[in-house]
Each structure stands twice: as C-alpha cells, then as structure tokens.
C-alpha cells in the first residue's frame, strides 16, 4: 500500500469536557474514496474540520500529506478542497466571481483562475449561470458550485461533509455522477454521510462512527457481509402489533430486529422466511424482501437506526 495521505491516531476533540470525537484512528490512501458514516452528532463533521486543518485537536496524532496541521495549516489547506455541510458561498458575488475570488485565496494567478473557473463551471454544469446571483440558484446548483469552488486549486484531497443532504433525488444523482468522475480521475475523496446509498455508491472503504468512536471499518460489501445477512425481509403488522408479533417469530431467520413501524428479519433467503411467517398464521399488512444495506449494518452495530 502506498503511504497514506491521511493518518489519524487516537484523534480526540473535546469541547469543554464533552468529547465530540473520542479517540478515532484511520488511514486514507492516495486516490481512495473514504467515508465516515454515522448519525447526526456522531463526530463526523468535527473529524472533518480537524482533517481540514481548521480545528485544533485536543489529543492524538494527525498527519495530512505527511504534515501536522498544528504547524502546517496553510500548507495542508493549500492541497485540500473543502465542501462544508452548509454552503458558504458568497451571496454578494456572482457565480463565476465566487470561483475566481476563491482561487485567489490560494495565490493562483488571476489568468489561471479565470481559465479554471470556466472549466469548473462546465464541470458543474453551470455555464449559463456564470453571471447569476448565488441566491438565484437552486439547492442542487449551489451544491455543485460549492464543489466547483472546492476544486479551484486542483486539490489532492477533496473533503465533503454531507454532500447531498437536503437535495432532491435527481440533484443527488447529478452530484454523485460528478463526484464519481473526480474519483475516476484519481482525486482522493473523504466524505461524511448519513445516507447508506451514498456511502455504497461513492466509498471504497468506510468507517461507521457513533458517539465519537469507530464501530466498524471496511468496504461497503465486506461490512454488509460481516455484520448483516444477504437479504432482509421487512414485514409490517401495524404499529400496535409489531412488538407483539415479534414474540411469535422465534426461529424465523438468523436474527430479528423490531422497529416501531416494522420488523426486520435477517436471512439468506427472504422469500423462504416469508413463507415461514405466513405458515405460522401471521398475515403481515405489507412485506418486502430486499438486499442488506449499510443501514442494517448500522442497526446491528448500534441498535439504532441512522435517521431518527
């Protein structure tokens, strides 16, 4: 394995006494697409800010591109592209000027920045919005502009904090497509998300984070293999009856999870388990057989679902 571009060892961030990040360790290889998956408040954004060299760690070791952010903040940031959770585009400037002015912060020559801005507008499919006001853009367009802005310095590592939160499905797919292209070009991606599908689409490898610590690590497929079954049978008996019915499901599937609105049955063969359920005289209102996802991994690891 080539030398990792990010190395975190027992990384801790405390606010007063509250540990937002409670000692996490991970490495990211060059060109890799690495994800931090977890619910809101898990410490993902705090971790991203430390990696982004804007938040000083309380303890532990952190090295980005072989440099310590405590001493080499500007150096590290010169090589990063940052897409924060909340867009912080400049509403007082027009779309193209947002890119140009941002490129200048990196000390790039104005001519180079202009050329790059036009390329990025094309990449973000915003050519005909170059002169628009930022406030006139849709949520998805703002997000793409933020990503374009993060790429103005041709970064080695792109940090994306919840890149598609709050976007409609179409806008998310456009964004994923753009991110996938960057990945193909060899840009190292580090992203946080609480969306399973996003993690499965974009991440080569991920860590599941909860309450500031890492619960598991691996590729999406290996995590599903290790912490879940191949298929999941979802049955609903109505919110009143779910818990009661669950008691009658002993021996069905490998494992049963009862959620307020449905029962999840983990198994290799969902159809076979459904027959078992109905054979016991239980008639679900609805039933669904699906592949296991990272959502199930998270549920298994923490006993909670991701989006509460």
């Amino acid at each position: 394995m080539p030398e990792p571009v990010i190395v975190a060892r027992d990384l801790v961030k405390k606010y007063k006494e509250f540990p937002a990040v409670g000692g996490i360790s991970f490495e990211v290889a060059p060109g890799e697409s690495f994800g931090l998956l977890g619910p809101n408040g898990a410490g993902k954004s705090t971790t991203m800010r430390m990696v982004g060299a804007v938040s000083t760690r309380t303890s532990g070791d952190l090295s980005i591109l072989g440099l310590d952010p405590n001493q080499f903040g500007p150096e590290i940031r010169s090589q990063l592209g940052v897409v924060p959770q909340a867009d912080n585009l400049d509403a007082e400037l027009r779309v193209r000027d947002n890119l140009i002015v941002y490129g200048r912060y990196f000390g790039l020559p104005i001519r180079r920045v202009r050329q790059r801005a036009d390329e990025l507008l094309e990449f973000a499919q915003l050519q005909d919005k170059a002169k628009s006001k930022v406030d006139d853009l849709s949520g998805g367009m703002k997000r793409r502009l933020t990503i374009a802005r993060a790429l103005i310095n041709d970064p080695r590592i792109l940090l994306l904090d919840e890149p598609t939160t709050g976007l409609d499905p179409q806008a998310r797919h456009i964004l994923w497509d753009r991110l996938f292209r960057l990945k193909e070009q060899g840009t190292t991606l580090v992203l946080t998300t609480h969306y399973m599908d996003e993690a499965e689409q974009l991440c080569d490898r991920l860590v599941v984070v909860d309450k500031g610590v890492i619960m598991a690590e691996g590729s999406p497929a290996s995590l599903i293999r290790d912490y879940s079954s191949r298929e999941v049978l979802e049955v609903r008996f109505g919110s009143e009856r779910n818990a009661q019915v669950a008691g009658e499901l002993d021996g069905v599937g490998e494992r049963v999870e009862v959620l307020p609105d449905r029962i999840l049955i983990y198994t290799d063969n969902g159809e076979r388990e459904l027959v078992q359920v109905t054979d016991r005289g239980l008639q679900p209102i609805t039933s669904l057989v699906r592949r296991s996802s990272l959502e199930d991994v998270f549920l298994r690891l923490t006993g909670r679902s991701l989006i509460e």
């Binding site: 940031r77 010169s78 990063l80 007082e92 000390g107």
Partner: protein
C-alpha cells in the same frame, strides 16, 4: 469532460513530494493572504460602488456648504470673520467634517462585513478553509478599509481646497489624520462586532448611541471648551475629538501645547493597534472550533 491539471511544482510521487508541494503552494498565501482578502472586499465594494461614489462626492459638497458656508455665515455675521480663535467658521469646521466622514465610512466597513462574515454570509468560513489564516482575514479587511478611507478623504480634501477651507500648506496631512481617526474608531468597533453571536440590532444601536453622540460632543461644530465641564470627558475619550484637533493643527495651525498633539497621535494609534490585534485573537478563536 476532464479538468486540466497544473504542472506540479515538485515532480515525483510519494509523501515527501506531496509535503514539498504543499510547502511551496502555501508560500504565496502565507505572504499575501491579507491582500487576497482585501481583493475580495474590493470586489464586494464594486457591487455598491455607486453608493461609495455618491456619498464620497455628495457628503463633502453638502456638509461643507451647509455647515461651512450656511452656518458659517450666521456665525460670522454675529461674531465676525475670525470668530473661531482667529479663523473663519468654515476653516474651523472643515477638518472636523473630514474626520467625521472618515469615521462614518469606518463605521460602515468595520461593522456589517464582519457581522455577515461569520454567519449571514459566512465568507470567513470559506476563507478559513483555504490557506488564508484567520488573522489575515482581519488584516485584509483593515487594508480594504484603509483604501476606501484614503479615497474618501482625498476627495473630501479636494472639496475643502475648492471651498478655500485649508489655509496651511501642511493641510494635506489632515487626510492621513482622518484615515487614522477612522481606524481608531473602527478597529475597536470591529472588535466588538466580532464578538456578536446573535444579531439583535447591536450595530444600529452603536450608530445611534455611540457614533452620533461622538459626532455631537467631540468639538466638531464648536470647541470642546464651549461645552459644560461635566460633558468634556466625552471629547477626551472620543477618537473623533483627538482626530479633529490633530486635523486642525495641520489644516490651519490650531495652537495647542505640543504634548497634547503627541497625546492625540498616541491615543489614536493605541486604539488602532489594540482593536486590530484583539480582533485577530477573537476571530482566531471563533473560527477554530
């Protein structure tokens, strides 16, 4: 489509190369970061350029005419042409108006851009994610305000000349005194604004209950000594009074003890330095979360 790539400053792969590239890439932002921030401010100012130009030209015209010529003719018809310790009212009031104009510009540029930058239009967060450091953000704002102050004050001074309000050949120094006055008022204001977490109209209050009284009680329209003694302390703590008196020294040779002139300069300088450095500390703390 694919994006063009820059030729790397350092060739090769592996960690040593990556670190070296970063070290090279950060050289310019480390040195010139504040200027890039100022450049950002100038681009934003361009969007309200009209206001800058209209107030820059309109203010001196209106104020010099109304106060200097209008009110001035009233004063001189009652007290003679040399009513103000030997000079006309216009000559007396013009340097004060110049300093006041600078203070007003500073009160615009050091308040809302700082308040917005943290929250409502959080440009500081974007800058902070780039190689720019928090202190450079403040330095850049100060640079941009100095530039606007200089422009405003030069225009004002030209009008003062046209009105025949500057008898002394050293009058032009009043331009720099006014810039210093603007900063001396603006830097501490910026410090305060940088601490505002929740906007509940503090800036409007500041304008009404600090800026306006300072203008009225800082020896602007009449000498400080014309006020009751129990009000004169306002002048002594007011950067505007120190700036105005200093401005008068250069504009028409106001007679005052030399030590007092030194006090004016020192007081203004201390306000600028303390306000500037303190704001740097605050922003550093606020952006490092």
């Amino acid at each position: 489509m694919s994006l063009s790539r820059d030729q790397p400053a350092v060739t090769g792969s592996g960690q040593a190369t990556r670190s070296a590239t970063a070290l090279v890439a950060a050289q310019k932002p480390r040195r010139f970061g504040a200027w890039y921030v100022a450049e950002h401010r100038f681009r934003v100012m361009r969007s309200y350029l009209q206001t800058v130009v209209v107030t820059g030209i309109g203010n001196p015209l209106v104020y010099l005419f109304a106060m200097g010529v209008g009110l001035g003719s009233l004063v001189s018809s009652n007290m003679g042409d040399s009513a103000m310790s030997g000079v006309s009212y216009l000559t007396f009031v013009a340097p004060a108006l110049l300093a006041t104009a600078a203070m007003t510009v500073a009160s615009e540029e050091f308040t809302y851009p700082v308040l917005l930058g943290f929250k409502w239009n959080p440009t500081f967060l974007g800058m902070n994610a780039s190689p720019i450091s928090p202190g450079q953000i403040i330095d850049g704002i100060v640079i941009s305000v100095i530039a606007r102050l200089l422009g405003t004050c030069v225009v004002y001074f030209v009008f003062m000349l046209l009105f025949g309000a500057v008898p002394s050949p050293w009058g032009f120094v009043a331009i720099f005194v006014a810039v210093l006055t603007g900063l001396a008022f603006g830097a501490p204001v910026m410090t305060y604004v940088a601490t505002i977490q929740q906007d509940t109209g503090q800036i409007a209050m500041l304008m009404r209950f600090v800026l306006l009284p300072l203008t009225l009680f800082s020896g602007t329209f009449f000498p400080l000594t014309a006020m009751p003694t129990y009000l004169q302390w306002i002048g002594w703590i007011s950067p505007l009074w120190h700036g105005t008196q200093l401005s008068r020294v250069f504009a028409y040779g106001l007679a005052e003890p030399f030590w007092l002139t030194v006090v004016h300069v020192l007081y203004l300088a201390v306000l600028v330095i303390v306000g500037w450095l303190w704001t740097r500390r605050i922003i550093g703390r606020r952006l490092n979360k």
